[in-house]
């Protein structure tokens, strides 16, 4: 087997925040805390968790929008912490991103054409070739070429999201990070974008990391699901296992909270999780899910759960994982 496309080992991102009236003391916020995870080429990995779980920060680390404060991340052979200028250039070309809000994904003052051409222009693609490629990627996202001269305010949410995807494709990336790509869209448009993403992934054998809070979308599109809770990775494994037979109590609570899409499922037993994740600021020792976990024991309160491999490709950080023989 070839090396994974993305390999993270104990990745950390700690922020320092000032505290107190005179901002004399500082506190650490462990937004991303010891994440170990690897993603194979051509995989679609869904990253889920409540707000504040650190999923967006993790994505920002991968995009080099923020520097990690510890650990190692190797992306397509490039070690992020030791990357030279040249390595960074390679990563900028290989990792593309699409954010949630269609309205702010594109520069309001640039035409569609110029927005799509921009990544190519700064990476030294000649203008004539960039122009040609802009037309090609626009067709790949099934948009009419007449929109090349449009400005973002003239387009609908679905169209804007297609253009953001087209721009992401401009440099023929290997990895796409999609941060809530369909959350702001209506159901019928969401379906269009999800289908488009799947088509593109198949055609180009792309690797996707999709962040979303919509668990039904994640179950639909992902090969693997990674679940984060308060900065830590609590479970990672194949989508049907994590989605339907989770081993971490938090994953179970999260999956049970996913709205059913058929009233006939109302009878199904659900465990509604109590409370909310709380803040990253005063974290106590022991399992971070302790206070909300119905299976918690004294052991959980004292001991930081370690990553356990339950089956090849299925890891969980829990002292008493569910669904194991």
């Amino acid at each position: 087997m070839s090396a994974p496309m993305i390999e993270m080992k104990d990745v950390q991102k700690y922020f320092r925040v000032s505290k107190g009236l005179f901002k004399t003391g500082t506190e650490q916020v462990k937004a991303v805390d010891h994440i170990t995870l690897s993603v194979e080429e051509g995989e679609i990995v869904g990253l889920v968790g409540e707000s504040g779980s650190g999923k967006t920060t993790l994505a920002r680390v991968l995009l080099s929008l923020t520097k990690m404060t510890g650990g190692d991340a190797v992306i397509d052979g490039v070690d992020l912490s030791k990357a030279t200028h040249r390595d960074m250039d390679k990563l900028h070309r290989e990792i593309a991103v699409v954010f949630q809000d269609p309205a702010s994904n594109l520069n309001p003052r640039e035409t569609v054409e110029s927005s799509i051409m921009r990544p190519m222009v700064i990476h030294g693609v000649p203008r004539s070739k960039a122009k040609e490629k802009a037309r090609e990627v626009l067709q790949m996202v099934k948009m009419d070429l007449k929109y090349l001269d449009s400005f973002p305010h003239q387009l609908s949410g679905g169209q804007l999201q297609r253009i953001a995807i087209a721009r992401a494709l401009a440099l023929s990336p290997k990895i796409m990070i999609l941060d809530e790509p369909t959350s702001a869209l209506d159901v019928s448009v969401q379906a269009q974008i999800l289908n488009l993403l799947l088509d593109l992934q198949e055609q180009m054998h792309l690797t996707y990391i999709i962040i979303t809070h919509d668990l039904n979308v994640i179950k639909y599109i992902s090969d693997k699901i990674a679940v984060m809770y308060l900065g830590q990775l609590v479970e990672f494994g194949p989508a049907d296992v994590v989605g339907n037979h989770p081993s971490h109590p938090y994953t179970k609570g999260l999956m049970d909270a996913a709205p059913i899409l058929d009233p006939r499922d109302r009878g199904k037993e659900k465990e509604i999780m109590k409370g909310d994740p709380g803040s990253l600021i005063d974290l106590k020792a022991g399992c971070r899910f302790y206070a909300r976990c119905r299976y918690a024991t004294d052991e959980c309160k004292e001991k930081d759960p370690e990553n356990r491999i339950l089956a090849p490709g299925h890891q969980v950080a829990c002292v008493h994982p569910l669904n194991i023989e």
Partner: protein
């Protein structure tokens, strides 16, 4: 069937815009019964929120034209004076909004704000405060007493939404209008709020009109569902019936657009084209330009609302001919 609380009769709302009218709501007929949850679902811009605001008489005012009747317990709210409306709002009809931070006053403790609502009914302070704590427990607020003495910014989004619900319940309204009540919240918190809504219906027999774009909520809690498209209710009926056997082509397609399966079971259904902006009230089906079953008459004649059964109606010519959109 239980008593009818609210009935909308031929409700149409147009906005005056530059160069004509924008038809936001057209010929809507709906009713909500005591103890029933009616979900009004549709994509953005379909007019669902406009209806909610029209019932509460909370439309911005000035550039809209309303026709038809909004009948609450036998009386047309549109004939009410401003003072009469104020007396009804909160006491008989409550409303919760999407963003729970905007809906609370940041400079008062949340408990005080709920108490304020109770005091409107002429109850003394001690009793009122006890009622606040009772309500906080009803909405499953953890540490009720502490939270009642907290300011809005000290609470999480889910807790704020609980405060809003407590405030609305405080005066025990007969009808609660919830406009996208969980859109700004995490799924886990959404599930908790839905539990509360289900309990409310049981314990208080409150009728709830749930405005949402999220079919998940509908499947979770609704009894009846009204599907809106471009200002019109195109299908209405029992939630089980409509999820199992949608009749209108739009509903049928939408149901298949929901991500209920995995990608290995095939692609999702999509609907080509865009929702039209209806600027002129010419006859014709508003879905005709996107409908795979569209016939010639659909473009020129407005399809009537056809009752397929006593409780299931649909605005489509296919029904008239006794045919059904093939699934």
């Amino acid at each position: 069937m239980s008593e009818e609380l609210l009935r909308l009769e031929n409700l149409s709302i147009d906005y005056k815009v530059k160069g004509g009218y924008l038809s936001a709501v057209n010929d809507v007929n709906l009713s909500v019964h005591r103890g029933e949850i009616l979900a009004v679902v549709g994509e953005s811009g379909c007019g669902k929120s406009t209806i909610a605001h029209a019932i509460m008489n909370l439309l911005p005012g000035g550039n809209e034209e309303i026709e038809g009747k909004i009948i609450f317990k036998g009386e047309d709210l549109r004939t009410y004076s401003r003072r009469q409306m104020e007396a009804i709002r909160g006491k008989n009809i409550g409303m919760i909004f999407q963003n729970p931070l905007d809906s609370l006053n940041p400079v008062y403790k949340t408990g005080k704000q709920v108490e304020e609502a109770i005091l409107l009914d002429g109850i003394d302070r001690v009793q009122a405060w006890n009622k606040v704590l009772e309500l906080y427990k009803d909405v499953k607020m953890p540490d009720a007493e502490v939270r009642a003495n907290s300011f809005p910014h000290e609470l999480s989004g889910g807790m704020r939404q609980r405060v809003m619900i407590a405030m609305m319940l405080s005066r025990n309204p007969e009808l609660l209008i919830a406009d996208e009540p969980t859109t700004a919240l995490d799924v886990t918190i959404e599930a908790q709020i839905l539990e509360i809504i289900k309990d409310l219906k049981k314990t208080y027999d409150t009728a709830i009109m749930l405005i949402t774009h999220n079919f998940g909520l509908v499947a979770e809690v609704a009894d009846k569902i009204a599907v809106m498209y471009a200002g019109e209710v195109i299908e209405y009926g029992d939630v089980y019936e409509i999820f199992e056997k949608p009749l209108h082509p739009y509903t049928t397609l939408l149901m298949k657009a929901l991500p209920r399966k995995t990608k290995h079971e095939g692609r999702l259904q999509t609907i080509d084209g865009n929702v039209p902006r209806i600027m002129d009230k010419k006859p014709g089906c508003r879905f005709a330009n996107r409908c795979p079953y569209a016939m010639d008459q659909c473009k020129d004649v407005t399809p009537p609302e056809v009752f397929v059964s006593e409780e299931h109606k649909c605005r489509c010519f296919l029904m008239e001919e006794g045919k059904e959109a093939e699934a």
